[in-house]
Amino acid sequence: MRELLTAHGLTKDYPMNGETVHALRGVSLAIGAGEYVAIVGPSGCGKSTLLQLLGGIDTPSSGRVELDEIRLETLADRELTRLRLTRLGFVFQRFHLLPVLTAQENIELPMAEAGVRRAERRQRSMELLSYVGLADRAAHRATQLSGGEMQRVAIARALANRPAVILADEPTGELDVHTGQSILELFRRLVKDGTTLVVVTHDERLAAEAGRVIHMLDGQIQTPNAER
Amino acid sequence: MAGMEATVRAGWVVPLLLITAVAKAQQPVSIAIERRLAERLRVQVGDTLSIGVDAGATDRKAIVSAIYEPAPDPAAITKREYFLRLHLPDLAALLGSPDRVERFAVALKPGVSPAAAAERLNQIAFGFRASPSRDIATESSQTFRVVSRFHQAIAVISVVASGIFLLCMMLLKVEERRRDAAVMRFTGISRRTIFAALLLEAVLVSALGSVFGVALALGASLVTNLYYQRFFDTSLVFSVVTPSIVRFSVLLSLGLGLAAGAIAALRLVRTNPLILWGRG
């Protein structure tokens, strides 16, 4: 399996209330194309920090991250932003849709930024809404959607520019069990369609679906390559 | 002083006099000139000048017997005119109008009403009109009343703008803390307590603002007076901040601040705390 996203000796320290928090202490991993990897661990173990470093949202105190052999720390901010736009997709725990835009417009947003023409954007956004089962909610503002619907729109947004990897941070954290199940089913489809997925989660169901589970504790990986 | 000229305006008689350094042999008249003119011409008491009605015909000798500071006249400061005084017969002779004057000032016996006296005089008047001094003062201060009205209009516009600005700021300030307010409501703090707390903040901010505003106004008034007194070379006072103005301004700003704070606070406490929290 081709290694798509790799991390080498990542550490992350940041100050908090006058002390230094060692969020990551030398984490290395490799994620192959088409893999579904779950990162689990107790609160404060560094899972979200790891995800943010893998996604280029944050910079490591030391170590490096490579996406398709592109070293993220060598990129200028503008290039990194472009990379996030075109090669990565993010799904957050709290959805973070723009409340003033409709479901369709939220999905079109990254495509517009990438320079996609209007007709193409419209078509693709409707395709993605159908994919996540929300074609009939296209014209609804984000504030008019339920939690589960918002998260599905967020997933569709993450898929807009055909990213190489989807990074999801606690995607079912704000959802009830039933709604979480619909997200799980969506993730199943994504994996089946060959999407590379990295999910940080407390949700056992999501972890159970993963091809590989990485356990973290106290800023370190406990079982780096627990294959199923 | 050769070749130097200045135009002056006679105190009682209107026509123009001119002063040059050209002197002729004549019985000199005695004149008093204002301080600014003396400085400009660089003359002192005892110096001789020549005055006349037309430029090129300044052939009457005059001795400076006094230099005086005229009472500041707001109506005259922008015109930058200079004044001198002569004895009336001297001026009349100079003008060739030996028995003509512009006006008389009449002092009445104690207890005599100026209006009644003026009316009696007007009954026999021909070629003149009598008016109580108060009426003249009212008439001649029309210009400043126009300026006052203009300032008041500007003040009203400024107050309206300030009121809007204040309300906007209060709303923003209060809305910024809506989650704090939500938590307080969740933990059982009453609407009344939250409202009172916000209102108190508004009052304190308004009070502080008023204090700074008054200080700023006093400073600006001082600077205005210093600047214009120097600019026009006058002792006129252009800006006065009176206790009643301070009282009015402070009350107005406190009132506006209180009203703005109350409106903002009321909006906040009437909103469902879940909505304030962002979950509603």
Partner: protein, 422 residues
């Protein structure tokens, strides 16, 4: 492939662009407008504040040079570009007069640039109305070279018409007089003998509008010699001022300089110089307009920047998310500044409308100055100043959004997302 820094990312980008076309910024105003509508009351208040500030700014721009423009237009209205008055005075500023007017007129007319010279005398006199006397202002004119009146009805004075008189409308209405009627003008009243020293019966030729009169001013006009007689100034051939027309406007200053040399005992001013001296007298209004105009701009800046700062602070999580999903800093800054710009634009347009109304109101106040010619206005638009003020206002509103926009764009993504999660 290591060492090809950013190469793959750029290839992917080009592929994406070639597949889907060039960049568009469709969403820019849409998002900005919707974000503003999210908080309608605060947006409405901010717009209201900018409206009032803009109105004030507009009024101050109009005021800054308004009366000078108005005065200049009045002076040049009939094409006479130079004024001659007694030494050290402005025309009709005092009761001083110029002696030997005919000689002065000859000297002026001898200048090759001069096309016409008109004498003008102003004096106080009375009109008999039954048993009473009405105080009037009298103009002595030369109808072939005048810039003081416009005929409204009847006929103008003919050269040599020493029995004709022109009335202002207020006088005509008070007397109920019209062309053909007779009036008696008197002067030099003797209070002791109760008689008038000079008396003339004149026939009304026409009703005129005296250009420099204040509203309601009772004025009459007759040929210069007639008025000189009434004022007992004929012997000395005195006038209050002379007006001079030169062939080309651009020659006015040079001609005035030559006449100044030829007539050193008189005050010679081109209209431009007169306006400049007039400006000195009204320096207060100019200074006031600069100060209040600056304050208006400051208020606009404060309103927009405070509103945008608070709005951005509220949306930091949203903005961090946008950055996380690949929206560039430039787009974020553009979005935030667009909101500030829209606020300024809307407030600006409304402010212009409000400002036009308040300018009329303020002008009504100021033009009630006693003795001010009715034709003068304090608030006079000039397209260059207005355009400049508009540009400055817009630039101010745009720039006021820069700081909050930069704060928004530069916020650390991970840190912000962490803070939002707590």
């Amino acid at each position: 492939m290591s060492g090809e820094r950013g190469q793959t990312a750029r290839i992917g980008d080009r592929a994406l662009s070639s597949a889907f076309g060039p960049l568009t910024a469709y969403r820019l105003p849409l998002t900005a407008v919707r974000n503003l509508l999210r908080h309608r009351i605060r947006t409405a208040l901010a717009i209201a504040g900018i409206t009032v500030s803009t109105a004030m700014l507009l009024d101050m721009v109009l005021l800054a040079g308004g009366i000078e423009r108005s005065f200049g237009r009045l002076l040049l209205g009939r094409g006479f570009q130079i004024r001659i008055s007694p030494k050290g005075t402005l025309p009709f500023d005092t009761d001083a007069t110029i002696p030997d007017a005919t000689r002065v007129r000859r000297i002026v007319a001898a200048d090759t640039a001069v096309v016409a010279v008109g004498p003008l005398l102003g004096t106080s006199l009375y009109l008999r109305m039954g048993d009473s006397l009405v105080t009037l202002f009298g103009y002595g004119v030369d109808p072939t070279a005048q810039a003081n009146y416009q005929l409204e009805s009847g006929q103008d004075l003919a050269p040599g018409d020493s029995s004709g008189v022109l009335l202002s409308r207020p006088v005509a209405e008070r007397l109920g007089a019209s062309a053909g009627d007779t009036v008696t003008l008197v002067s030099r009243l003797d209070p002791e003998a109760a008689v008038a020293g000079v008396e003339r019966r004149l026939t009304v030729r026409g009703i005129v509008h005296w250009l420099y009169d204040y509203k309601g001013q009772p004025s009459v006009g007759a040929l210069l010699p007639v008025m000189q007689d009434l004022a007992r100034l004929r012997a000395a051939d005195r006038v209050s001022a002379l007006i001079v027309k030169v062939r080309r406007d651009k020659d006015a200053d040079a001609t005035a300089a030559r006449l100044r040399t030829a007539l050193p005992m008189l005050e010679v001013n081109s209209v431009a110089a007169l306006v400049s001296r007039f400006r000195e007298r009204l320096v207060y209004f100019r200074q006031l307009s600069y100060i209040l105009g600056s304050i208006s701009l400051i208020i606009t800046v404060l309103l927009v920047s405070v509103l945008m700062t608070i709005t951005v602070n509220e949306r930091l999580g949203e903005i961090a998310t946008l950055r996380a999903i690949g929206i560039s800093r430039r787009s974020i800054v553009r979005d935030v500044m667009a909101e500030g710009t829209i606020l300024t634009l809307v407030g600006g347009v409304l402010g212009v409308l409000l400002g036009a109304a308040t300018a009329r109101y303020l002008d009504r106040i100021l033009t009630s100055f006693p003795g001010l010619p009715a034709a003068i206005s304090f608030f006079v638009p000039e397209s260059q100043s207005l355009a400049l003020a508009g540009a400055v206002l817009l630039a101010t509103g745009i720039l006021a959004g820069v700081y909050p926009a930069l704060v928004a764009a530069r916020a650390a993504i991970a840190e912000t997302l962490r803070a939002e999660a707590t």
